[in-house]
């Protein structure tokens, strides 16, 4: 893409200053993480799919680096470098370039090189309060920059987990469904096969071997697996241990004996996933599900209601807010609340702001533990286009 005009450059600079002044006045410390980042952390968190969208390269020393695809992970690393205790409360803001490969070719709404301005909060104990603060702060910043017509879309990746608790599932079913939820394309199929009782694994391992494995006798189980490999003249190669293989086989044997997912649980999940609409009424729909369920648990609903109330208190017009249970399933590293600010003229594929809660990210960045973390980033080129009232 050609270099931008000076006029456009200056308009983006001025806009970034406006956003940053809102953030710094609210007590967010301005930071400037490095553009070159180790690829490791990103690949670990986002996975190999990252390579499809990121400029990953090897430097002359053989280290794998990338041009940062966002500023959230770099800000986490900066926080970890500063604080021995990763849970130390902190608030940061930034404005800088980020880079993404555009497989369909770059265009104005999907540039390869764009500027992100954003805020991140770490270590907050009051979770919903921190979330409401991030959402309302970033909205007040884009309004200050001149944005008038916007809508806010919410999702909550943690809520699904709570719904599974309500459904009264065993831990292994819960884990399987939690994993499946994050893979929307395969989810319907998985749900169907779970209900039909077809287990996830169909192996060539004889039933007799599977049945002989016992969790409470790891040594004997490993010996049985070793004997089977010996008999089949299969050599044990590679880094994966006999213990790990045995452990997994025991898990398979256990899940084989498990009852299929109940009809009621499947219905509950399908109804939850279908919830989408104004944020005010979505709460009532969730309440209906929770109350109709065998073992009632109000915690998930309380979180939802408290968050909505806090947003209203912070001055967010709830008429502009929608909730979708499905929203956020394909977003890289979020673990709880997810949100985006949309503008009619740019369409649903080009949100002006995205953000959410990502408690697990700090662990992946090297903290060793999960740390409460929530943040938001403004796509500044889109914001400018939206304010100018034209498609970019």
């Amino acid at each position: 893409m050609a270099a931008e005009t000076t006029r456009n450059f200056e308009a983006l600079e001025a806009q970034a200053q406006t956003l940053m002044s809102v953030f710094t006045k609210a007590g967010y410390e301005a930071v400037a993480p490095t553009i070159l980042q180790p690829a490791d952390v990103f690949l670990d968190v986002i996975g190999e799919s990252l390579r499809a969208r990121t400029y990953v390269f090897t430097d002359p020393d053989g280290a794998e680096l990338c041009l940062r695809p966002d500023l959230t992970v770099p800000t986490c690393r900066l926080h970890l470098a500063r604080h021995a205790d990763p849970a130390t409360p902190a608030r940061y803001c930034y404005s800088g370039a980020a880079f993404r490969f555009q497989p369909q070719g770059a265009d104005a709404a999907h540039p390869r090189e764009f500027r992100q301005a954003g805020i991140e909060r770490f270590g907050d104990v009051e979770r919903e309060a921190a979330e409401a603060e991030i959402v309302s702060r970033v909205i007040s910043a884009v309004e200050k920059a001149g944005l008038k017509d916007w809508s806010l879309r919410l999702g909550d990746l943690g809520l699904f987990s709570s719904i599974l608790d309500v459904a009264g599932l065993t831990p292994s079913w819960k884990k399987r469904l939690d994993d499946a939820f994050l893979k929307p394309q395969a989810f319907r199929d998985s749900l169907k096969s779970f209900a039909n009782g077809t287990g996830p694994a169909r192996l060539s391992v004889p039933d007799a071997l599977l049945s002989s494995l016992k969790r409470d006798n790891q040594t004997a189980s490993e010996a049985a697996v070793a004997a089977y490999l010996e008999e089949k003249a299969i050599e044990l190669i590679g880094t994966r241990t006999l213990a790990a293989i045995t452990e997994h086989l025991i898990g398979i044997a256990e899940s084989r004996d498990e009852k299929p997912l109940s009809r009621a649980a499947v219905d509950l999940i399908a109804r939850y996933v279908g919830i989408s609409g104004p944020a005010r009424t979505a709460g009532a729909k969730i309440a209906e599900l929770v109350n109709g369920a065998p073992s009632g648990s109000g915690a998930a609903l309380e979180t939802y209601d408290r968050r909505i109330a806090l947003l209203a208190n912070a001055g967010i017009d709830l008429d502009r807010v929608t909730f979708s249970a499905e929203f956020g399933r394909t977003m890289a590293y979020y673990t709880g609340l997810v949100f985006e600010v949309r503008v009619q003229t740019l369409g649903p594929q080009s949100p002006v702001v995205t953000g959410g809660r990502y408690d697990a990210l700090m662990r992946a960045a090297g903290a060793g533990v999960d740390v409460a973390a929530v943040g938001a980033a403004v796509h500044t080129e889109r914001l400018l286009a939206a304010i100018r009232g034209a498609a970019p």
């Binding site: 690949l43 670990d44 996975g47 190999e48 799919s49 390579r51 499809a52 497989p103 994993d179 893979k183 394309q185 395969a186 996830p200 694994a201 169909r202 192996l203 060539s204 391992v205 697996v225 089977y228 490999l229 299969i234 050599e235 044990l236 190669i237 590679g238 880094t239 994966r240 241990t241 790990a244 293989i245 452990e247 997994h248 086989l249 898990g251 398979i252």
Partner: protein, 240 residues
Amino acid sequence: MSRLTLAIPSKGRLMEQTTDMFARAGLVVRKVGHARGYRGEIEGLPDVDVAYVSSSEISDALKAGSIHLGITGEDLIRENISDAETRIGFLQKLGFGFADVVVAVPDCWIDVSTVADLEDIAMPFRRLHGRWPRVATKYMNLTRRFFASKGFGDYRIVESAGATEGAPAAGTAELIVDITTTGETLRANGLRILDDGVMLKSQANLFASNIAAWTPELRSLSNRIAESLGAFPSQTADGK
């Protein structure tokens, strides 16, 4: 009339099989000038320039549009060109150079037979070893696309320059993605193909670059070559 550039593999079995097949189709390819040179011509088609180029460079040249036609493996085209469907014309399968691109795991992983099973073992592996399972391959793009289509993301690619089959036993990767024709090399290295682990059944093709400079005359010349090759399927099919 402008000239048509056709690139042919410059060495190995792929070159021999290409030359044989062209001859059977009545297209006699000859080197021009020095026998070790890299330019050639086709008898009776004076408007065709033949260039002898390595297989991987043929896919790059097709991608860039610097040649009109090229003969190479589908695996290289799919790996090196992310928008192959629009940039490249798949003119004719040639019936040789067969190779399957497959996911293979150590045979001793008796608890793993599908990609879904890989997903089950990834997290426990990470807990024990502090990293995701590594996949050794030179097909980074094919691997990424294939696993993404299966919803599997908990792995890391280790780029492999050669002898990929040896990586699991050497401890430099847990599993591999590589090409195989008979599976013999995989078996010899204690590896087994996953039940749903065949990503691509590749063979040599006559490819056209859609972004090269084409004229109606060059199109009809290209069609003539493709039709001649299509009428004489390979008799030296190696394997399946």
